[in-house]
Symmetry: C2
Subunit: 201 residues, 2 copies
Amino acid sequence: MKKGIPIVISAPSGCGKDTILEQLFKINDNLVYSVSATTRAPREGEIDGESYYFHTRDSFEKMIADNEVLEYTEYCGNYYGTPKKAVEDMLSAGKDVILKIEVEGAMNVKRIFPDSVLIFILPPSMGELERRLKKRGTESDETIAARIKQARTELDCADKFDYLVVNGELMKAVEDVNKIILSEKMSAKRNIALLEEVKNS
Amino acid sequence: MKKGIPIVISAPSGCGKDTILEQLFKINDNLVYSVSATTRAPREGEIDGESYYFHTRDSFEKMIADNEVLEYTEYCGNYYGTPKKAVEDMLSAGKDVILKIEVEGAMNVKRIFPDSVLIFILPPSMGELERRLKKRGTESDETIAARIKQARTELDCADKFDYLVVNGELMKAVEDVNKIILSEKMSAKRNIALLEEVKNS
């Protein structure tokens, strides 16, 4: 069984990564989603175990202590982390595992899985990002200003990713992310066994 | 103007690289083909700069001495090679340049253009490669055996390429090569300027 690829998707808040992923899963059936754990409060419509595993601070800190998270970070006062065993099991089953995590976590995943692919989703512009955040209508001006500031900090780390995808037009961005995944599956370093197979056939 | 990418396509004889390229140019209009330089005399109808760049022996050897060819070979008393400046000009014009060259030449291109993308086309199996070579019906058993032997030597270098594409079904292989090219265009290292642009927008 050829192992799957850990695929990290990071993006500043408001860049549309959730919508991209929703569409991506419809066009690529070898993908599975690594559900993150978090201590932030569920937003409307979010389901425990699907959107996130929602935890109290205490139970999250116990997971960290028990070495059960692949990576975790504290962001805007909340923990976000990746449950370890689930990811390893899915990769061994040949599935490409989508990890939707923050920039720092992405760097940690690369350290733990050097074969992982890091994709950063960019807004077309900072102005457009601000418009999208305001359009949600769920957050105060202060929160939006904080998110924009945070976005700038995250963009400063985007050059450490493997790929940059601009989310200007949704379906273009979805296709772009999928192209990257399918292309990576053809990289020579991931296909040494295939090469030997052809040589000996 | 964002620079183009040098794309090297190598494949053992009989793997269908010419047919793949023919179809690839139909679906990707940012590709240009690198025209070779030669010292052989122009044949009727051949146009300088289109069929080949025609050179005298002296001027070709001066190009070699001045490090103006990416790679070259001598065949039947004539030089054939890839002129560096033409490739650089097309790259500067934002075009992705297809270089159809042998394995050794591919390694030289990677040394000169570390940002080049090396794609190796594989047959589905050695048995299938042999069937395809025989189907041509133009070559003796000895020639076919020699080509198979040569193919094995080339396959031994395939792990030094960036990507491996199996040419089982033609249009699948064409799409695969195109996915690799489009995906590479989104690599972070090729988009540092874009990132700055978004940050400052």
